[in-house]
Subunit: 156 residues, 2 copies
């Protein structure tokens, strides 16, 4: 039985001119069910349990469609595959370099964010992505690692 996705799902899929298929529902359902920012392969493995016939290519296609509908965000980090999250609210991501866990991180109001960009006026920004890399609570019981950001001096 397909998961009962919120009405937002049906609306968004339809308003994007896409068809409501069981595969898309299951893929979206898997993302909603466990919000741990899985990779495409992880989504595939999870959906396979409910729908053994689904293929990896279809999972990629569904994720692409869901992203186009604005239901899903694709998140990329330095290494490893893309990961996907159903939280389309403005937020950043924190990835733990030890255990790989990804957490959503709240961002300030768009107005304040816009203020900190020092971008020429005639540039149009359609999307942004803000990723933090570090060590999470579980992996750093003593908080033993220093906070080191990029150096403050320009390169030659």
């Amino acid at each position: 039985m397909p998961p009962a996705n919120p009405p937002l799902y049906d609306e968004s899929i339809a308003s994007g001119g896409f068809r409501l298929t069981r595969q898309r529902r299951e893929v979206y359902g898997a993302l909603l069910e466990t919000r741990d920012h899985p990779s495409a392969v992880q989504v595939f493995t999870r959906v396979q349990k409910k729908m053994p016939s689904i293929s990896l290519a279809t999972v990629y296609n569904c994720l692409e469609t869901l992203t186009q509908c604005g239901l899903v965000r694709q998140v990329n980090f330095d290494r490893g595959p893309s990961r996907f999250c159903p939280n389309t609210y403005r937020h950043a991501h924190f990835i733990c370099t030890r255990c790989g866990v990804v957490h959503d991180v709240q961002l300030p109001e768009a107005a304040e964010l816009a203020r900190i960009w020092c971008l020429p006026d005639d540039y149009v920004v359609n999307e942004y992505e803000f990723s933090l890399r570090g060590v999470c609570r579980q992996c750093s019981p003593g908080g033993d690692e220093p906070v080191t950001l990029h150096p403050e001096k320009p390169t030659p």
Copy 2:
């Protein structure tokens, strides 16, 4: 003849416990020479002109070493290969979704950045990456596209 890299290069390589090789010098030189955030393959093509015997694997290895030394930053976007830049000063990146050009974008002081992160106290941040996607000056003569960010309302 190898390019005359700034002293920072020799120092950083040596202090990292690495050897000064002509390949590393050329790879770093290529990045300094044309600061257009090339991919590994582009770096390979450029270095090949001065050093036809170099291999792509070596370019990848050199970029990895240079990154470890802190001389180079690896930049990842939604799609396409990683790109590399020799500007290790704290900055964000803007990529034009039409022509693919990447520009460095100035960021505010680290202190202000840290203030806007709403991250739990016991998380340690070692690195961050801030990427903007949009349309650059050359590709948007009329500035016809609206600024659209992520929606302001949380998902269900």
